[in-house]
Symmetry: C2
C-alpha cells in the first residue's frame, strides 16, 4: 500500500511535472510572451558576418568590373544608361538581388564640349600660321582601343572662349604662384600653363583672372604622377601603371556641389532654375587640360627667366616662366597660344539607381551604402572599382536575404549615384529630395568610390563616432594573401595616430571636403558618414593619385594588370565595408562611440586655444564658451557611455535601446547649422565644413580668424566672434543631446 501510494505519488508527481513543463514550455510562449521579444533584442550575429566575409568573391568583383567598363559611361551618355540597366538587373535578380530596386531621375545642369567642333589648343605664329596643335589622342589599350566613343578631354564647366596670348608657366596656379609671376613679368593678356596639384582645379583659373590672365592650360607633370617617369615606350602604361604622355586628366571645374541651377531643390522637370549666368563658383576664364606630351612641347620652348626650383617638374628641360611667351630661339619664337573652347551647358537627365533591403525590426532606420556610377571615360577604377565592390556586397547579402537566412534589423539602402563627376550631383539631389526622411532616419552613410587606389593598405575617413566600427571590422578581415595578418594590423603600419584613449591605432581620417558623394550626407544632412578604400604605400610612390585617374587609360585592362591583379584588394575592401554595413544594420546598440567624438573635439580645441586665444583676447573675444562646450561634450559622452555600460540592453525595454540609439544616430545632426556658412553651399556641419586655413581645428573659426588676422577689419573680427558663438552653441547643443534625456 505504501509502495502503491509512493508509486501513485511518484506517478502524480511525474504527471504534475509533465504538466508544469507542458504549461511552461508548451503553451506559454505563444500566449503571453509576445513573439517579437526575441527579434527586438537580437544583436549582431557574428557567424553571419563570418559567412559574409567568406562568401565575398574576388572573381565576382573582377567580372563586375569587366561588365561595367565595357563602354565609356560618362554621366547621361548611352554608356551610362547601360550601367543603369546593369545595376537594375543585378539588384532585381530573383536569387541575389535586393528586396526592391528602381531608378530615380533628375534633370541636371552638366557641361560638355561640342562633339562636332572639338576644343583645340594651338600655337599660332604672328602671321596666324598654326605651328602646333595640342590635344593628341589618348589610345586606350586593351578592350577599348578600337572604341571610337572615348570622351573628349575637357574642363567641365569651364566657360567657352577663344583667348589667345603669350604663354607663361604658373606652376600650380596657387595665389602665391601668380603673385610671384606678377612681380617678374606682365601677366595681362597671357595664357597660363599650370600643373595639377597644390590648388583646386577651378582655383587655377579663379586665381589667375584678377591678374588679367585670359586662359589657363592644365596638365599632369610626370613629377607629380609618374614618380618622374615620362617615356611612352617602356615606363608608362601599358608597360607600367604610370600615365602615358598622351593621358589627359579631365575633371569638373566648378566649386559648388549638387546641381548648380537648383540650389537646395531637387532638379525635377518643373523645378525653379536660376539662370546659368547666376551660377557662382564657375571660373571666369577658360581652362583646358592637356597631356604632358603637349605640355612638354610648350613648356620646354618657353622663354624668360627660369622658374624657381620648387616649380621645376620632371621634363628634361628648364622650366622658364615665359617672356611672356616662347624663347626667341625656339620654333615658336613670337607665337601665341590659342585656346578654342566650345564647352556648353546642357540640362540632361541623370539617374540614380536605388535598391533596398527592408529592416525586420526597425525598418525606419536606414543604413545607406553608395557610390557613383558615372565615369569620365571607362572609369575602371573611378568609380567602377567601387561599384564592383558594391555589387559583390549586394550579391552576398541579397542571396542571404533571398534564401531566408538573414534580414537586417534596420533597413539598408544602396545608391548608385549619377553625375558625381560633375559635382556629386546625383547624391546631392537625392539628399534634397528626401531631406526630411533621410534626416529623421539615417543611421549612417558608407561611401566606397574608388575602392582600390593601390594595393598596400586600407584607408578610411569618417565621423569620429564611426571610428570604432571601422576598426572592429578591420580586425576581422585578413589582408590579401595572408591567413593571419588583419587589415587592422597592416593598416596601423601605414597610417596611425596616438589616441589619448587607445594609444597607437590606425588613423581614421576626417571628411572635411567634398571629394565624393559622402559630402551631401555629412555636410548637408549631418549623417554619420564613412569613406573606405585601399591605397598606396607612400614609400613606393609619390603619385598625386593613381596615374590613370580621369584619363582614357582608366580601363579594365589597367585595373586588372596594374592596380589589383586578382582583385584581392577589392575583395578586402568589400569584406571590410560589408562588415561595417552589417554591424550598423544589425547591432542592437549602434556601434557608434560618442567619446571618440569628444577626443576629436578636444584635439581641435587644443589647437584652437594654442592658435587663437591671445589674438581673440586682444579683440575682447572670449574663447571660454568653446572650452565650456567641449568640456560639457566630454562629460555628457562619458555619462552616456557609463549608462550604456551599466545597462543590460538585451533585457531592457526596446524603447530604452532605441532612445540611446537615437542619441548616437543623431549626434552628427546636432552639429548642423544652416546659417553658419551662408556663402558655402551645402555645408552645414560646423565641425567638418571645408576650410581654407589649413589648420587642424574648427573650420569656420579657423577661416574667419585667418581672414580677420590678415585684414584687421572689424567686420572680419565680428564674423570670427560669430563663428565662435555658432560653433560653441552647436557643440553645447550636441552635448545636451547626449545627456540624460530629461
Amino acid at each position: 500500500m505504501l509502495k502503491k501510494l509512493l508509486l501513485g505519488g511518484l506517478g502524480a508527481a511525474l504527471i504534475l511535472t509533465a504538466g508544469i513543463l507542458l504549461g511552461h514550455f508548451g503553451i506559454q510562449r505563444g500566449l503571453t510572451t509576445p513573439g517579437w521579444i526575441q527579434d527586438v533584442t537580437q544583436d549582431v550575429d557574428e557567424e553571419l558576418i563570418q559567412k559574409f566575409i567568406s562568401e565575398v568573391d574576388n572573381l565576382e568583383i573582377q567580372e563586375n568590373l569587366r561588365e561595367l567598363t565595357k563602354v565609356p559611361h560618362m554621366a547621361t551618355t548611352p554608356g551610362d544608361e547601360k550601367t543603369v540597366q546593369y545595376m537594375l538587373k543585378r539588384w532585381q535578380d530573383p536569387d541575389t538581388g535586393l528586396d526592391r530596386a528602381w531608378r530615380e531621375e533628375y534633370l541636371v545642369y552638366l557641361s560638355f564640349p561640342d562633339p562636332k567642333t572639338p576644343n583645340k589648343v594651338t600655337v599660332e605664329s604672328p602671321t596666324g600660321k598654326v605651328l602646333y596643335t595640342a590635344r593628341k589622342t589618348e589610345k586606350p589599350y586593351g578592350q577599348d582601343q578600337e572604341n571610337p566613343d572615348v570622351v573628349q578631354p575637357y574642363a567641365a564647366y569651364s566657360p567657352p572662349g577663344h583667348p589667345k596670348g603669350k604663354l607663361v608657366y604658373a606652376n600650380q596656379g596657387k595665389p602665391s604662384d601668380y603673385l610671384y609671376l606678377n612681380q617678374t613679368l606682365e601677366l595681362q593678356g597671357t595664357i597660363a600653363i599650370t600643373r595639377y596639384g597644390g590648388a583646386g582645379r577651378a582655383q587655377k583659373a579663379i586665381n589667375a583672372a584678377p591678374y588679367g590672365v585670359i586662359g589657363v592650360l592644365v596638365y599632369t607633370d610626370p613629377r607629380d604622377i609618374n614618380d618622374g617617369k615620362m617615356s611612352d615606350i617602356t615606363e608608362t602604361y601599358p608597360n607600367s601603371w604610370y600615365m602615358p604622355p598622351s593621358g589627359v586628366e579631365r575633371g569638373s571645374f566648378n566649386t559648388q556641389y549638387g546641381d548648380m541651377l537648383t540650389p537646395y531643390l531637387a532638379a525635377k522637370d518643373d523645378t525653379y532654375r536660376i539662370s546659368p549666368s547666376k551660377i557662382t563658383g564657375i571660373p571666369p576664364i577658360p581652362t583646358q587640360p592637356i597631356g604632358f606630351e603637349d605640355a612638354y612641347a610648350l613648356i620646354c620652348n618657353l622663354g624668360g627667366l627660369p622658374a624657381p626650383n620648387e616649380w621645376q617638374g620632371a621634363f628634361n628641360c628648364t622650366y622658364n616662366l615665359g617672356g611672356p611667351g616662347f624663347e626667341p630661339t625656339s620654333n615658336f619664337n613670337d607665337s601665341q597660344v590659342k585656346l578654342d573652347i566650345y564647352n556648353r551647358g546642357e540640362i540632361k537627365n541623370s539617374s540614380n539607381v536605388m535598391g533596398v533591403i527592408r529592416g525586420s525590426v526597425e525598418p525606419d532606420r536606414y543604413v545607406i551604402y553608395g557610390n557613383h556610377r558615372d565615369s569620365w571615360v571607362h572609369g575602371a577604377i573611378d568609380p567602377s572599382s567601387g561599384t564592383s565592390v558594391m555589387l559583390e556586397v549586394t550579391r552576398v547579402l541579397g542571396r542571404m536575404v533571398k534564401q531566408g537566412k538573414w534580414r537586417p534589423r534596420r533597413s539598408i539602402i544602396f545608391g548608385s549615384w549619377g553625375a558625381e563627376e560633375f559635382g556629386l550631383i546625383g547624391s546631392a539631389e537625392y539628399s534634397e529630395e528626401y531631406y526630411s526622411k533621410l534626416s529623421e532616419r539615417s543611421v549612417a552613410y558608407i561611401n566606397v568610390d574608388i575602392s582600390v587606389f593601390a594595393n598596400a593598405t586600407l584607408r578610411a575617413s569618417g565621423s569620429p563616432s564611426a571610428q570604432s566600427v571601422i576598426l572592429k571590422a578591420s580586425q576581422q578581415v585578413k589582408i590579401p594573401g595572408s591567413e593571419s595578418t588583419s587589415v587592422y594590423d597592416n593598416w596601423i603600419r601605414y597610417f596611425n595616430r596616438s589616441s589619448p584613449a587607445y594609444g597607437v591605432i590606425p588613423n581614421v581620417g576626417f571628411l572635411t571636403g567634398a571629394g565624393s558623394d559622402y559630402a551631401a550626407f555629412i555636410h548637408f544632412l549631418g549623417v554619420t558618414s564613412m569613406d573606405i578604400s585601399y591605397t598606396y604605400d607612400r614609400t613606393k610612390t609619390s603619385a598625386r593619385i593613381y596615374p590613370a585617374y580621369h584619363t582614357a587609360y582608366d580601363t579594365f585592362d589597367y585595373a586588372s594588370k596594374f592596380i589589383d591583379p586578382g582583385f584581392t584588394s577589392h575583395q578586402t575592401v568589400a569584406r571590410t565595408a560589408g562588415n561595417v554595413l552589417m554591424r550598423l544594420a544589425d547591432s542592437l546598440l549602434l556601434p557608434f562611440n560618442c567619446s571618440d567624438y569628444a577626443e576629436t573635439l578636444e584635439g581641435y580645441l587644443s589647437k584652437a586655444l594654442e592658435l587663437y586665444t591671445d589674438g581673440l583676447a586682444v579683440r575682447n573675444i572670449s574663447i571660454e564658451p568653446l572650452k565650456v562646450a567641449v568640456y560639457k561634450f566630454r562629460s555628457a559622452s562619458a555619462s552616456l557611455d557609463k549608462m550604456i555600460r551599466d545597462s543590460d540592453l538585451a533585457n531592457e525595454t526596446p524603447l530604452k535601446v532605441r532612445r540611446i540609439n537615437d542619441q548616437l544616430m543623431l549626434l552628427d545632426r546636432a552639429f548642423l547649422d544652416p546659417v553658419a556658412f551662408p556663402d558655402q553651399y551645402g555645408f552645414r556641419h560646423v565641425i567638418w565644413a571645408s576650410s581654407n586655413a589649413g589648420v587642424p581645428t574648427f573650420p569656420g573659426l579657423a577661416d574667419a580668424y585667418s581672414r580677420a588676422a590678415s585684414s584687421g577689419l572689424d567686420v572680419d573680427w565680428d564674423e570670427t566672434h560669430r563663428q565662435l558663438s555658432v560653433l560653441s552653441q552647436a557643440i553645447l547643443g550636441a552635448a545636451y543631446t547626449l545627456e540624460e534625456v530629461i
Copy 2:
C-alpha cells in the same frame, strides 16, 4: 477496475491540468515575460483624465492670479524676479511640485523709457509755450492703486528723438491711409496720430516714414475697444470692463522676434552680438502711445478736411485730417505737436523658469506646455491668467506624481518664459539654445498665454494634425455652470467650419503669425503647436481685444470683476488644456491625425489653384508640382491611417508604435526649410510662415505672387517660381515621411 482506471485517469488528468495551470500561470510570467511589457503597451487612462478634470479648482486659479499680480512684473524688473521665485517655489513644492524645476538665464536686448525723464507729448505754440501735455496718469483701481511702481507707457524699441511738427490724423497707419493723406496734404515734417488696429504696431511708423512723417502717436479709439463708449464715470472701468480714457496700450514696436542682437544664437554672456545699429525691423521714427483722453484733445482740435467716414472713430467730434495741424479756431491754432522720447536699449537678464515631469516609458519624448511670465504692468490677464492656469495644471498633475498615482509615458516640460512682451524672447532663446534636442524629441507645444479674454467660448489654434486631440478634450470638459453642455458643443456655436471629412465642427484656427510664444516652436523648430484660450461672444462686443489689454488696468480686480468672476472660465481652459496635455503625454499612439493636415493642404491648394494658375501659366510656371505634392500627401496620409487602423498596436512590437509615432511627431518638422524665407527671421515652416497677402493659402507663394503681380518684374516672378518649388518639395518631402518607411 475500469472505474479505478477512470478515476486514476481523471486524477491524472486533474493533476496534469493543475501542472499545466501552474506551469502556465505560476511560473511563466515572472520568468520570461519581461516586466516592462505592460508599461510599454499602456495607453491613456481615461479615469486619470477624469480625476484630473475633477481636481482642477477655480479658486486655486484665483489665488494663483492674486499672488502673481501683487506687483507689476515687467520683464527683468524686481517684480519679475518675484514671479520667478514664486514659480520656483510652486514647482519645487514637495507635495504638488514637479520632478525638477530650475531657472535659465539670458542676457537680452530690451528697450525702456528713462525713469527720470519720462517721455512727453506736448502741444507747443509757435512761441514755444506748452499749451497741452499728454500722458495723463493711469490710475489702477483695486489693490494696486497706491502702488507707485506702475510702469510708464511707451513703445518698446521705438527710437528716441524729439520730433516736432504739425499733426495729421492717419487713421490706422496702413499704407493706404498714408497714400490717401499724401494726396490731400503735405506730410513732410508732420506728426501722425493713428489708432490701434489695421496694421501692426511698428507698421504705423514704418509706413509713415517714406512720406516724411517724423513721429507717430498711437491710441486706442473707443470705437475699436469700448464698443463706442468713452465716459470715465459710468461706462468704463472700474464700472465696466471698458478701457478708461486714461488707459494706454503699451507694446513692442519691433518686427522680429527673439533677442535681436543674437540672431539664431542663445543670448549668453559671451555670445556674439550684432551692433544695435544693425538691427532691422525697428521703426525709423519715434512712436508714442497715448490714452484716448489725450487723443480726444488732439484729434477734436484738428483742422483740414474731414477724414473719410471709414476713418471716423467714436469721439463726439468730426475727425479731420489736419491742415496739417490744428483748426485755426481752436486754442491750439498754429501749434505743433512735440514728442520727447527717451527710450533706450539695455541688455538685461531675463529668466525662463523650467520644470519637468520625467516620462516613464519614453522619457526622450517631450510634451511642452508654456506661457510667458512677464507683463507690461500687473498683467492679470496678459499673461497671468495663463500662468495661473498653468500653475493649477502643474499642481494637480504634480500631486498625482508625488502621490505615485501617475507618471506620464512621455516627459512633460513646463516653461514660464521671460520677456515675451519684448518679442517672444525667452521662448525664442530657449529654442535656439536647445535646438537639437528639442528638434529631435518634441512631440508638441501647448501655449496658454491669455487664458481668458472673455467668458463665452473656447478658442484654439494649432497644427491641423492636432485638431483631433483638441476636439476630443473639448468633448470631455463641460462649460462653466453646466453639467451637460460640453466645451465642444458650446464652441461649435461660436466658431465652426465645414470639414469635408467631418461635416460641421468647431473651427481650430491656424498659427500663422508670431502672436505668442508658440512662434519659435512652430515656425523655427517645426514642433506641432497649439494655442488655447477662452474668448468673446462677438455678438456682444466688437472690442479689438479685452479693453484693459497692455494697460495699467489689467489687474486682479479687473480680471476677477469683469473678465471671469469665479474663475470658472479659467478652470475650463485648465481642464481642456490639461486634458490635451495628458493625452499627448500618455497615449500609446500619438493623438495626431495626418489626414487632417491633408485636408488643410487641400484647402490651401484649391485657393492657390483658383488664384494663381492662370497668372503663373502666363509666365510659363507650372503649378503642377504643387498639385502632385498635395495629392501625394493625401494618399500617404490615407495609407498611414489605414496602417494604423489595421494594426493591433498594443500587441505589436513597441518599435512599430514608436515608428508610427515618430512619423506623426515629425510631420511638422518636415515642412521646415531654413532657406525658404531668408528675410524673415525665425520663419522656416513653409505652411505657416507669416504672410502679408491676406489670402488663406500657402504664405510664401501668396506673398511672392502678390509682389510679382504688382511689380511685374522678372526677379519677382523668379522668386514666385522658387517659392512654388520650395513649397512643393517640402510638401512632397513630408508626404515621403508618411509613406511606408521603406
